[in-house]
Symmetry: C2
Subunit: 255 residues, 2 copies
């Protein structure tokens, strides 16, 4: 039985219950790749919901990348594995935990100072404005992976310096303590060679290949809230991405 009863008393929307149930069927293997997902009509009839609600459930499945719809044919389970951790905005801590490593950090410096020109530009503030600057060595299972330097406008979280515990996640602190939820991160990655100081901190040879990241994070409204420059060992760190085509909303390539 692919479909099961809904909880109409729940605060969870019906379409979301349906989506989660189908998602479970896919993950458990009851629905295999290439197989058709129940049609809008069938969901509608079997669960006693309107076709638009069934449709919303299927559409959300497609947006997750789990399925795809073909007009006139049906909706089918995609063969692409979800498990390959294609990237989202993840904090270092989250990312490491997901890979099963124990994330740790060593704080190199933590201070309030005027923004550099580059930082001011990225954060849309004046160079006279102060920023909180946090420089850390990032480690997984006590192996140094990279050096990260975060900049946050001091006005956003005035008492962060006193209250932040460097062992915890900066992202989570921003979210829980200040209600700052990061929605989008723009990232530029370059490849380069480790300089002397960096090599010493990362315990690698000078001139080893490294990644150089420049990241700016924004809240939903588009206001920038964090600017990060970091350097990572290329022998221990890869960039994994999933790129999607166009993402037109109008069904299939309309123009």
């Amino acid at each position: 039985m692919i479909l099961e009863a809904l909880d109409r008393q729940s605060v969870v929307p019906l379409y979301y219950q349906i989506q989660q149930h189908l998602l479970g069927q896919v993950r458990s293997g009851a629905l295999k790749s290439g197989q058709p997902v129940p049609s809008e009509q069938e969901i509608s009839a079997r669960l006693g919901v309107s076709r638009m609600t069934a449709r919303q459930a299927l559409k959300s499945l497609c947006e997750l990348g789990v399925a795809y719809s073909q007009r006139g044919k049906g909706t089918f389970v995609s063969a692409i594995k979800l498990e390959k951790d294609f990237r989202r905005v993840l904090s270092f801590s989250e990312e490491m935990q997901k890979r099963g490593a124990r994330p740790r950090s060593k704080v190199l410096s933590f201070e309030i100072s005027p923004a550099s020109v580059e930082t001011a530009e990225a954060l849309h503030i004046s160079p006279a404005d102060k920023v909180i600057r946090l420089r850390r060595i990032r480690m997984a299972n006590s192996l140094a992976l990279g050096i990260e330097c975060s900049h946050i406008p001091a006005g956003l979280c005035p008492d962060l310096v006193e209250n932040f515990d460097p062992r915890t996640s900066l992202y989570r602190t921003l979210a829980s303590r200040y209600g700052i939820e990061i929605a989008i991160t723009d990232e530029v990655a370059e490849a380069g060679l480790a300089k002397a100081e960096e090599a010493r901190l990362l315990r690698i040879a000078k001139g080893s290949p490294v990644f150089l990241f420049t990241r700016t994070s924004y809240v939903h409204s588009g206001k920038p809230v964090e600017f990060v420059k970091s350097i990572y060992r290329a022998d221990r760190y890869k960039i994994v991405n999933r790129l999607t085509r166009s993402r037109k909303t109008a069904s299939e390539g309309r123009n």
Copy 2:
């Protein structure tokens, strides 16, 4: 006047006409960041469409990242620039043209041969199966940027070897000639140092920093159709990404 009349005779869906019109207003600056987009009710009343259609237009705007909705408050223009070319699946030719450079390629080899183990695994075929292997130097304005080696299952496009013009885009040929539309690309980027042969072809010093890419592209159904290994000069090439948070379909973080 933010809203204008619709063409009800057109084959273009109403919600898409509305979305495109609003998108134009944002691009032209008539709608600035932070400003509210017309509400569902207003669109509905002014254009004589149902609220659901107006809603679909706004939702599609949000999916493009141009706007964001807040329950009880409204829908607002996001401050994040579209222009920064956050990545999608772009062929090399498309990417270069977008940056205003003249893309060129020099074909190093073009042949049919049995798949290597790595290629077979990526393409979900047997090592006994044959693949079309195309190795090219990628250039922008006659400057060598990288070396790309594409592998395509020979069964997909049997006569490609005879008919392909290396000066054109491989992606566009696949699409127009064989109806193969790439939907998703998984990419792994590593940083490394140029080896002797690579350095010679790219006209850089041996040991210069380079990007190493491993890309697999899939059609909508999830079937892999192309596997590419490439190497790019790090001094002329950067990776630009936009990462988005979670993308839950249920409005805001429901769990």
